[in-house]
């Protein structure tokens, strides 16, 4: 049975991924800052799907701990899903560099730190799959959340570079760009129904794309076209829009 490592396992997308892959008989390693919070999720996955689930502590922002974290992992993963991220408060981040730094580190620097280590291991083993959950917000900077967007843009570029490098080593890299997703974070935000995904839909799309060894997906699918339009709006007009 294959082993999937989920980094940032408390988010709704991570949970949905865990159920999807457990349902396909993958053993799981769930990593999060507070692994106690994963106890119920882990027992549920084990009992429902008869798979083995490990829980480990992982702090994306504690860069220094990442090498030791990966060293200790047993068994080592065949797939890794990098799900952690932080939306942050754009307004606050405009004046408070600490907040800006937290957004950048949670969405980009932390991912680079841990994925560098994993990529090197996968490259050596000449096998493995890296799934990065980026965002459509990285496709074009918008006034209302460009700090989050720019960090995700960097993450997307990182994943595309990683894919280019690791292709020679038979390691696959999948970039996932979700649009709106109905999660705990957005529970009280009105989101337009037809373009809003449930976490389960995101997980289904990711699994299918992984199976088909796709390089990049938007989820829901229509976001590819919505983002195409948004990217095509000429800058002189775009800069006047309230987005």
């Amino acid at each position: 049975m294959k082993q999937l490592l989920i980094l940032g396992a408390t988010s709704d997308i991570a949970r949905a991924l865990a159920y999807k892959y457990a349902g396909q008989s993958y053993n799981l390693t769930l990593a999060a800052r507070n692994s106690d919070r994963l106890a119920e999720l882990a027992s549920d996955l084990e009992i429902r799907h008869q798979v083995k689930v490990e829980r480990v502590e992982f702090d994306a922002l504690d860069f220094g701990s990442h090498a030791a974290f990966y060293e200790r992992l047993s068994p080592k993963p065949d797939l890794v899903a990098c799900v952690f991220g932080y939306l942050g408060d754009q307004k606050k981040a405009q004046t408070d560099f600490e907040e800006a730094k937290k957004i950048i580190d949670s969405n980009y620097t932390g991912a680079v730190s841990i994925l560098n280590i994993i990529a090197n291991d996968f490259e050596r083993r000449k096998a493995g799959t890296i799934i990065g959950i980026s965002s459509v917000a990285g496709d074009r900077g918008r006034g209302s959340n460009y700090l989050y967007g720019s960090a995700k843009a960097a993450f997307s570029a990182y994943l595309s570079g990683l894919r280019n490098r690791l292709a020679k080593a038979n390691v696959h890299v999948l970039t996932v760009k979700p649009g709106f997703v109905r999660t705990k974070m957005t529970a009280n935000v009105p989101l337009p129904g037809p373009v809003t995904a449930k976490p389960e839909q995101v997980a289904n799309d990711v699994f299918k794309a992984d199976r088909a060894r796709k390089h990049q997906i938007y989820t829901l699918w229509m976001w590819q076209y919505l983002m195409l339009i948004i990217r095509l709006i000429p800058e002189p007009i775009f800069k006047r829009l309230n987005l």
Partner: protein, 501 residues
């Protein structure tokens, strides 16, 4: 070729971009920048205001009978901290599972659903002991435990209910006369009281709280999780016999001679009159052993069954779809298609226990106005006379029930027990003018014979009927005073029948 494709793509993109540009320019052009900004600002404010007014938790909710439908504050939670916060700021609140009670037992100004609090916590495959959170459905439990050779020790006629709901209603099923109710197999449970404290209780620890919570209609606190004792099975199949009964006496004789069977239940045609009154069909069953299985496929995988064919009632039927005549026709077909001799067969557990679960949304056949189930029980020694009395009344009024289910019961523990040594009949009625008055008349007959009604199906019982028919109700209310401070947990039903009102 590729170059050509690229050029086409570029052209298409340019056209698309131009098109969007034109639209935006046209929209903004005839005004000055100032006007546009003012308009945008106003629109933004309007949206923001609308957002403020809109309580995103307001929702119209009804339970399985689709009556009544009321607007409530509806909340969900995934962790105990969220639940505690919700409970501390609530004053009239009721827990809700999958909404399969028929009436208003799980309706209150504020409803907290357990459906997302649904994790399995532990499963001991050797001892058949399962621990899970309250929002887990019985169907999910069966999916997990049957392949390991276990089954629910007591199951109702639907598996689409939560563990929390099963405890709060202390549900019963086809085996009640032999194996008792759901809560007889709850080894322990955890409850969050109205003040946010979490208390463990079992028949040995805080037993008073335990037996007030079992069948306590969610009024003692929020059930968080439970530990269940399962029963071992060799196969996922039931050895079933069905026998046709020509009238009520015949049917009741059959029940009494089937008392040693683990499972028994009967359907009756409640529109038949005279000598045929109460004709119907009795099913009895036992868990099939390996030796009972008939086909090679069954023997190869005795604990695995084919997923049931799922049907759906996609639309709500018009209110007139179920009337005296269609019900009569349905009952006649059901009766005559059956041969006179007993029919023995091996059926999977879904077919035997949960036939209606295979038809999603079957409650829609009762139309927009919804329906209710009138389920009453009478003491055994008075059942023959009482059932005849009530069936006559129903036939006389032509108030045919599409489904009429008869069953023999034994005693039940707890302070609000529905079951007693006796017969219960469950009748489904579409909501229509005159129905509740008619049911009030039936109430008097039930009361006169020493019977009572099942709270989880009820939507209209009046306070005197409830108070006179439930023997330990005062003890229950007394206990609530110590567990449910300030009657925080209450439903429209508990107010109506006078438990909390």
């Amino acid at each position: 070729m590729a170059k050509h494709g690229n050029r086409l793509k570029l052209l298409a993109m340019l056209l698309l971009g131009g098109f969007i540009g034109v639209i935006i320019t046209l929209l903004l052009a005839p005004r000055s920048g100032k006007e546009t900004r003012a308009q945008l600002k106003e629109k933004g404010l309007r949206l923001a205001r609308r957002q403020d007014n809109k309580n995103t938790h307001l929702k119209r909710v009804s339970n399985w009978g689709n009556y009544p439908e009321v607007q409530v504050e509806f909340y969900e939670f995934e962790d105990v901290e969220t639940l505690r916060r919700l409970l501390l700021q609530s004053d009239k609140v009721i827990p809700r599972g999958n909404g399969r009670c028929y009436g208003d037992s799980a309706l209150a100004p504020r409803v907290i659903s357990s459906l997302r609090y649904n994790k399995f916590l532990a499963f001991d495959k050797e001892k058949g002991i399962l621990r899970c959170q309250a929002g887990v459905l019985l169907s999910e439990i069966l999916e997990v435990v049957v392949p390991a050779g276990w089954f629910l020790s007591a199951t109702p006629g639907t598996k689409l209910i939560t563990v929390g709901g099963a405890i709060a209603s202390n549900v019963h099923g086809k085996s009640q006369h032999k194996t008792g109710n759901f809560c007889d197999y709850v080894l322990e449970l955890e409850l969050m009281l109205g003040d946010g404290a979490i208390v463990k209780c079992s028949p040995h620890e805080n037993a008073e709280l335990f037996w007030t919570t079992c069948g306590g209609m969610g009024l003692t606190g929020y059930i968080l999780n439970a530990t269940l004792q399962l029963r071992p099975v060799e196969t996922a199949y039931i050895r079933q016999e069905s026998i046709k009964a020509k009238n009520l006496d015949h049917l009741m004789d059959l029940f009494e001679e089937s008392e040693h069977w683990t499972y028994s239940v009967a359907w009756i045609d409640c529109l038949s009159k005279g000598k045929q009154m109460g004709r119907g069909k009795l099913w009895r069953g036992e868990h099939a052993t390996l030796a009972d299985l008939k086909t090679a496929a069954q023997r190869r995988n005795p604990l695995k069954i084919k997923p049931a064919l799922k049907l759906n009632i996609p639309i709500t039927f018009p209110d007139f779809a179920l009337n005296q005549w269609t019900v009569k026709l349905f009952n006649m077909l059901l009766y005559w298609k059956e041969p006179a001799r007993p029919v023995k067969s091996i059926v999977d557990y879904n077919k035997f226990f949960y036939p209606l679960d295979e038809i999603a949304n079957w409650n829609r056949i009762y139309g927009r106005r919804g329906f209710t189930q009138y389920q009453f029980i009478l003491p055994k020694e008075k059942s023959r006379a009482g059932l005849k009395h009530i069936l006559e009344k129903i036939a006389e009024k032509g108030m045919g029930s599409f489904l009429a289910v008869l069953k023999l019961y034994g005693e039940q523990k707890g302070y609000l027990p529905f079951a007693m040594d006796g017969y219960a009949l469950a009748l489904d009625f579409p909501i229509k003018p005159g129905l509740f008055e008619f049911l009030d008349e039936l109430d008097e007959i039930v009361l006169a014979y020493g019977g009572r009604l099942y709270l989880s199906k009820d939507v209209r019982m009046k306070q005197p009927m409830f108070m006179q028919s439930y023997p330990n109700v005062e003890h229950f209310i007394e206990n609530l005073k110590s567990f449910n401070h300030g009657a925080k947990f209450r439903s429209f039903q508990s107010d109506r029948v006078g438990i909390t009102g």
